[in-house]
Symmetry: C2
Subunit: 683 residues, 2 copies
């Protein structure tokens, strides 16, 4: 029995009474273009609340809006709505690259003017945009005498749900774990403690899917979500990543927060491609930037993770001139656009995580001929990708950034992979604080000046920046392949990528680094790895399927290049594009399976990627998305006979068959398996 | 106890002893009777470790054993094995009541003698018992000069798993939430923070199920499990519930800890009935106690939860003489053994949670004629069940206990329902500390003296006490039906009971209080409850099935008795037994569904309970467990046409058909539905 019984009853009574009494302020409503989603904004007892209905049923119950400041009274009570404006839009814009070419921005907007009834009579707006696929809202604080420079202690935004939906989550704010590289859990939202976004939820009753996230995060901390108190609440609250002194944001009016977004879908399959956040970011400021080129790449990388090479110099140094030439030759011979080299620059020797300021971003190790290799790569039509690990030493990086990017530009190196391996910045600010958000935006803007594309590891999460800066290519920000090399928990379980697709991948591209073929990779003792050792927990066919399932405009073939020699399955990696015209999720259940079809941006060809968790599954896939009348050849990479992620991961059956829009393919996936299909237009 | 030692065991023992004495530390092994499970104990660098293999594969990797004391050096390093003893047993004993009549205790035992190599040269044993269905181990600290009175700061027991198995868990040790009434989450064990036991896990590779728990908890704190640090470890550590000063246990040698248990099964269906913990508790000390009688009961209870009545006196007081007579009459007329009355005793008025010492356990409110009602009940062949809410005021209860129990005994009241609604005891000790464990054992022993059965709410979890004290009938200790009346998260989701069966129910009986028929119960405003309000989230047929699925020897028909009037489905509640000869789990998937068959202890009849989560399901159930040649009539209570837990929960189709051991029944369960079947021997 709970102690809260009588208090709960009291709360209901009070809510009922005050709702009945507070008729002074008429609620404002704004509806999605299809009429299904209705957002209602109202004040109740001087508090400002929004709620959301879907198809006439409550989806979100009244959820409070407001701020708590340091050194100023909160903006929370004694509020009244003084006016409102409406707007709408219906336009379609084109992504320079992406998982879809065309994006429709069709929404209705309501701006609500709010003012304190008493001193200091501060005023602000909350702007709501309601789309068919969800909604976003942001606070806008205009310049005003009573609100100039200010410090945000808490953003008091609430997300209160009618249903105790099931959520797939990773924790935030656990001690010494300010990171996103974790496995997912599944809980009723009422027991969530502190979690990261995107937070994907499925209601228990109406089978509605919802995703809370944010968009257009520019100069503000990242948002987490906090549940409770207790384990019986359906309200999550915004929880901003703090600076070392506990202040969340230092701002000056006029100021707007990022958009708080709630994506809504009837089916899991409708969650992707997710464009709500892109629509809430400002358009491209770089114009037709022909230096931005999605690409596949190989690199000197996995060898360090499995202990064959080191980042630091010495006898096992991976980033040598000779080794890099091998990779450039391989890339050129197999149509890869880039070669990533990690450990090329000075600063890796010693404790590079503790000594965050020791990295040089211009000085190579003596055994790495930066200029010669850059020239060699250019001559072969390949681009070097410069690795810039900062270990969180932001100032050290910012000091060198212009010189480094200028050097890279001069050498034809137009892509960097940045890294921020640290839980906390040197001054104690959170990895996800306003400080880091500002820094990563500065890197992006500076890189654009030098025509450099950015692949960001240990990033702040993606909030749609790529719309405005299309050189923001891809990020890590989740548990990638590398955990299969060394993780203390044995590697990513077979279900991992089937959850990633419906959670992390909804915020943007991920540099997951698929394509490990040496799945039964040797241990330190030379034997195949034991089941409890870290290892790849997929079949080889599933590694291929990940190229289609997990979108990235920079997609790595992550294994040592010698492991691709003599492998017929490597052909799929050579063929698969990284830029798509259309994306269709054909089947999907969070944590269980995904089947996705994507059409190449540059040809009429389609590709299918199908993955499953530890259970074998069979799918019937009608190819009705193909062009009617057109003939195609399907090149099928399926799990071979008796394939099994644990005991027999390597067999891949490669076959071809003629197909057209009337064909239905049967896809059989092994336990922990997958299937990759190229559907090539014939004739 | 009939105990035998095999010749082979003797040979092992001799060999082991001489080996241990002769050379460096050879590992010791003990195997389950079926040879599938092997426990290995060894020292490595002075640390003591155990590991577990199953079918020749690692199940648990080396896991450390030891203690940290306050005011004494830890017992952790510099250890060596000095000897060992072996034993085995194969006996079958009978439960006086339970989910099965016969329990086989078949195990091999290894006692390992361990000593510090340096001063203070303390010595102890770790005793392992390995069964076919899992293992248990306990520390035994003999009396010795260097270890007399001592304070345990931490028990350093580890549970390290080869596989990053999926775990179903509820949190522990969250601030202000020291309770067990929570919804379950699902995570890879590597990301677990602090969780409660029983902790049920499913491996990702071999489909092995494991449950960590404890047995024979007498004078020691309850064990939680702590993961990490970080989110990449497959090791859980024992975390004992603390007293206010941080000390976990105050003990004196000779002393034994509770058993730490790891139940192992190949299939979810094999997890129940779970008897490992019972086998690790001492046998019945009460003998043939004919005053212990499993029973069904009704009570003055749900009315308080839905706000119709109050516990406290006043105009809505539930525990009135007239009301109680109504319940006694109903119980007598319908074959119920007991009537629970809450709010009968003085102390409920005012803040009874804060004022823990205001309860009287002997003085009734003036409008409750305790003696007259007890007599009235006796005359009708019904027993009053006395409610004893303590709100954690242990001393107040202990002071009155003998007087109260003596009074109850004199009135023929031989059952109590205790309650401990509080997160922390008055002195700051945890609800689950050694203090509470001692108290609850004292209540149990004292109750036995007065021939009183105990139903404990807000209990320390069940560790098999009912074997030793069969008057320990049932407990709460999980989210029960009451949350559907008032929980802030809207009530138990449809999957809840399908998880309970494979988690909480593995430790022992639960007083879940099924049988709410008024599923569309009215809100305060008189309208049917809205989907986001707290409500029962099952069909009515599922409420019936819970009587079979969720075992309790005291099983309530929880609704207001008027809600059973004119309900044909009530017949099943009247028929269903609370004491079983056999239990067979026919189908089960954690969080999805359970189908269980149980045979009545007192007749040849069988009963089937089937429940599902929010998905509709169909099962084909061969009745091959029935006696061949015997004719039966199946009385089937199925979800009616278009039944659905959310929109249409009430329709129940009641039908009969002749069946025998060759019949296969098709069970169709609605979303959130269930099915209850009585299979009555015919002729």
């Amino acid at each position: 029995m709970s102690r809260w019984i009588s208090r709960l009853t009291l709360v209901w009574a009070v809510t009922t009474l005050s709702t009945a009494a507070a008729c002074a302020q008429q609620p404002l409503r704004v509806t999605s273009p299809d009429g299904r989603t209705v957002v209602t904004v109202r004040t109740t007892d001087g508090g400002l609340f929004y709620s959301v209905d879907r198809d006439g049923e409550k989806l979100m119950t009244p959820s409070r809006l407001g701020f708590e400041f340091r050194g100023a009274p909160p903006l929370l009570d004694g509020l009244r709505i003084t006016g409102s404006q409406r707007d709408s839009a219906d336009e379609t814009w084109t992504q320079p690259w992406g998982e879809v070419a065309k994006v429709r921005d069709h929404h209705n907007e309501l701006s609500v003017d709010v003012e304190e009834t008493g001193a200091p009579r501060r005023h602000f707006q909350v702007v709501f945009r309601v789309f068919d696929d969800g909604l976003g809202f942001r606070y806008v604080l205009p310049a005003q005498p009573a609100l100039q420079a200010f410090e945000i202690q808490e953003e008091l935004t609430e997300f209160s749900f009618a249903d105790n939906a099931k959520a797939w989550w990773i924790p935030s704010n656990r001690p010494r774990m300010d990171r996103s590289e974790m496995l997912f859990s599944e809980s009723p939202l009422s027991v969530l403690d502190s979690v990261q976004t995107p937070l994907t939820m499925e209601t228990r009753d109406e089978h509605t899917f919802m995703v809370i996230h944010e968009a257009d995060l520019v100069d503000y901390p990242r948002m987490f979500l906090a549940g409770g108190p207790g384990t019986e609440s359906r309200t999550l609250r915004a929880a901003l990543a703090p600076m070392h002194d506990g202040v969340k944001a230092r701002e000056r009016t006029p100021f707007s927060t990022p958009w708080r977004t709630i994506q809504i879908a009837d089916r899991a399959e409708d969650l992707a491609p997710s464009v709500l956040g892109l629509n809430l970011n400002p358009p491209n400021v770089l114009g037709d930037a022909d230096w931005i080129k999605p690409m596949k790449y190989v690199g000197i990388w996995w060898g360090m993770h499995i202990g064959v090479w080191t980042w630091s110099s010495g006898p096992k140094h991976g980033a040598t001139t000779a080794n890099t030439k091998r990779y450039i030759d391989f890339a050129a011979a197999n149509g890869f656009g880039g070669v990533l080299v990690e450990g090329w620059n000075q600063g890796w020797n010693g404790d590079w995580i503790a000594n965050r300021n020791q990295f040089s971003f211009t000085k190579p190790y003596p055994d790495y001929d930066l200029r010669g290799l850059a020239r060699y790569a250019r001559e072969k039509g390949v681009m070097l990708i410069a690795h810039n690990e900062t270990s969180g030493g932001l100032q050290n990086y910012e000091r060198q950034m212009n010189a480094a990017f200028s050097l890279y530009d001069s050498l034809g190196i137009h892509a960097i992979k940045t890294g921020y391996v640290t839980d906390t910045l040197a001054n104690g600010d959170s990895h996800y604080s306003q400080t880091m958000v500002r820094h990563q935006r500065l890197v992006l803007e500076t890189a654009a000046k030098y025509h450099i594309m950015v692949d960001e590891h240990e990033p702040v999460h993606d909030t749609g920046e790529r719309r405005t800066y299309p050189n923001m290519m891809t990020r890590e920000g989740a548990r990638g392949q590398e955990y299969n090399a060394w993780s203390g928990d044995g590697g990513n379980p077979p279900e991992h990528e089937t959850i990633l697709f419906f959670t992390r991948m909804l915020d943007g591209p991920m540099d997951f680094t698929p394509g490990i073929f040496d799945i039964l990779e040797r241990s330190a003792n030379g034997k195949p790895r034991a089941p409890d050792e870290p290892r790849v927990r997929t079949t080889l066919a599933k590694q291929l399927a990940l190229y289609v399932v997990l979108y990235s405009p920079m997609q790595m073939a992550a294994d040592l290049i010698e492991n691709y020699q003599g492998q017929p399955a490597f052909q799929f990696i050579k063929d698969v594009p990284v830029n798509w015209e259309r994306t269709k999720v054909l089947e999907g259940r969070i944590g269980d399976y995904v089947v996705v079809a994507r059409q190449d941006r540059d040809s009429p060809d389609w590709y299918i990627g199908a993955i499953t968790d530890e259970d074998a599954r069979t799918f019937q896939i009608p190819l009705d998305f193909l062009t009617p009348g057109q003939k195609y050849v399907a090149e099928i990479y399926a799990d071979g006979k008796d394939a099994d992620w644990l005991t027999n991961p390597l067999p891949v059956d490669i076959s071809r068959r003629d197909v057209d829009a009337t064909t239905t393919l049967t896809l059989r996936l092994a336990p922990g398996g997958g299937q990759a299909i190229r559907i090539r237009a014939a004739g």
